[in-house]
């Protein structure tokens, strides 16, 4: 990484669901233009970390620093914070009553107050970028899963976020549609977008990731660059996990 600006720093993050301790002393940093990939078994807390990063879940203790600013959910306007953190969901969560373009321009117009004609121009550009220029005025119900997810990516990008969070973006897709979404993400990464990705796609993690974090039972057990972690895991549990998924 040439650019050493820190986008996200997480320190001693803890999260409980009732009595269940789901995140245990999570520490992590994400540098500008870095792709950090969280891997681990279901229920290990990967998605919860992501959801804490844009405060869809509130952490019970620990600090989250965004662009050098400590975010306190009690005093910060979280909507302003979330403008800077884009999120792509496993189940797309597109707005079914709006067209592809409508989905993309909604937040820029209503939240950022960008003039409509400019938002439309930028929106069309983004939709082109994810390869859906022939679907601009189509409703989500007419799209395949892969197309929906690409629209969701365009929608998040429309807010010009500093970092993009991907929560298992290909887990709900038919196998033949996974590739197109991963290609779009790879393209984003190559353009220098800062990304935090939760995925079961180890090929993607290895090829595109700069840093891999392996989670087990709410703890980061091992971290490193893809080469180290995939080829020479230090921890027994990492080895066990990798032998199952690779």
């Amino acid at each position: 990484m040439d650019d050493k600006t820190e986008i996200i720093r997480v320190e001693k993050l803890n999260k409980y669901f009732g009595d269940l301790h789901v995140l245990k002393d999570i520490d992590m940093t994400v540098m500008k233009s870095e792709v950090v990939v969280l891997i681990g078994a279901s229920g290990s807390g990967k998605s919860t970390i992501l959801r804490c990063l844009n405060f869809l879940e509130k952490n019970d203790s620990g600090t989250i620093v965004l662009d050098g600013e400590i975010i306190d959910p009690k005093t910060h306007n979280l909507n302003r914070v979330r403008e800077r953190v884009g999120m792509v969901f496993q189940h797309f969560n597109l707005f079914p009553h709006k067209t592809v373009l409508g989905n993309v321009i909604e937040a820029p117009i209503k939240v950022k107050k960008i003039p409509k004609d400019q938002a439309v121009r930028d929106g069309i550009e983004l939709i082109k970028k994810v390869g859906l220029s022939d679907k601009i005025n189509v409703y989500p119900s007419k799209l395949s899963g892969g197309q929906k997810q690409r629209v969701a990516i365009a929608r998040a990008l429309a807010m010009k976020p500093d970092v993009m969070l991907f929560d298992e973006p290909t887990s709900a897709l038919d196998p033949e549609l996974v590739g197109e979404v991963l290609a779009t993400m790879k393209q984003l990464a190559e353009e220098g977008m800062t990304m935090v990705v939760v995925t079961h796609e180890m090929g993607f993690a290895r090829e595109v990731g700069n840093k891999i974090l392996y989670l087990h039972d709410g703890k980061i057990i091992e971290r490193g660059n893809p080469k180290e972690l995939f080829e020479n895991p230090q921890e027994e549990r990492t080895r066990e996990f990798l032998s199952k998924v690779l």
Binding site: L78, F89, P96, K110
Partner: protein, 220 residues
């Protein structure tokens, strides 16, 4: 044959009276339904705040509305309202009916808002939209679409319930039938005539709801 002839004769002779009354019936119902939507939204939101006192107020309202006959509500509200402020019977009846229908709409609206996938709220939040903005732009439009068939049902019920306005002297459809029937000593014929008018309006509105439902479902 004679009685069929008599029915049509009555139908044609009373035509202008009933047409005027039909507009009054539709007017009361449409106005009442508009206000009922406001009541329904308001009390549904109270319920959704999860603040105990507000939820209790909403529950109380729905309980009163569902637990007492409409005719009682109309009488109480009519005499109550006109006691406090002078207002035309039309508006007293309309407000009473709106208050009644609003109780049912509260539950319909609350249910359809709750039926919208939680992911929609999260998607809105993740884009920096406030809870209120997400509600207005994302959740409510979908909830309303989903509620159209129930709204249609409730509207038709309200249309027929508006006949109770005749008990406080409104000359809407049933009122006219009642009056004409008694002055001409011919209740049965006028009741059959008015039934035709109701059937006609209900048919028109059923078609309208069906059209709306089809049009709105394009995007689903």
């Amino acid at each position: 044959m004679d009685s069929l002839y008599h029915f049509f004769e009555t139908f044609i002779v009373s035509y202008d009276l009933f047409i005027a009354a039909m507009f009054l019936t539709v007017g009361i119902t449409v106005c009442a339904f508009m206000f009922a939507l406001v009541f329904g939204l308001f009390f549904a939101f109270l319920k959704l705040t999860k603040i105990r006192l507000l939820m209790w107020i909403s529950d109380f309202y729905v309980w009163i509305i569902r637990g007492t006959p409409l005719i009682v509500q109309i009488f109480v509200l009519y005499y109550g309202l006109t006691n406090i402020i002078l207002m035309p019977t039309f508006w007293a009846v309309t407000i009473a009916l709106a208050f009644h229908v609003g109780g049912y709409l509260t539950e319909i609206i609350r249910g359809s808002i709750n039926s919208i996938d939680k992911g929609q709220q999260e998607a809105g939040s993740s884009l920096g939209m406030s809870a209120a903005l997400t509600m207005r732009r994302i959740i409510l439009p979908q909830a309303f679409r989903r509620a159209i068939p129930s709204f249609g049902n409730q509207f038709i019920i309200a249309l027929k319930d508006s006949s109770l306005a005749s008990f406080i002297g409104m000359q809407e459809l049933f009122g006219v039938a009642n009056l004409e029937g008694s002055t001409n000593f011919d209740f049965m014929t006028y009741l059959l005539v008015v039934a035709v008018y109701y059937l006609f309006i209900v048919y028109v509105f059923t078609m309208l709801v069906r059209f709306l439902e089809r049009k709105m479902s394009v995007s689903d």
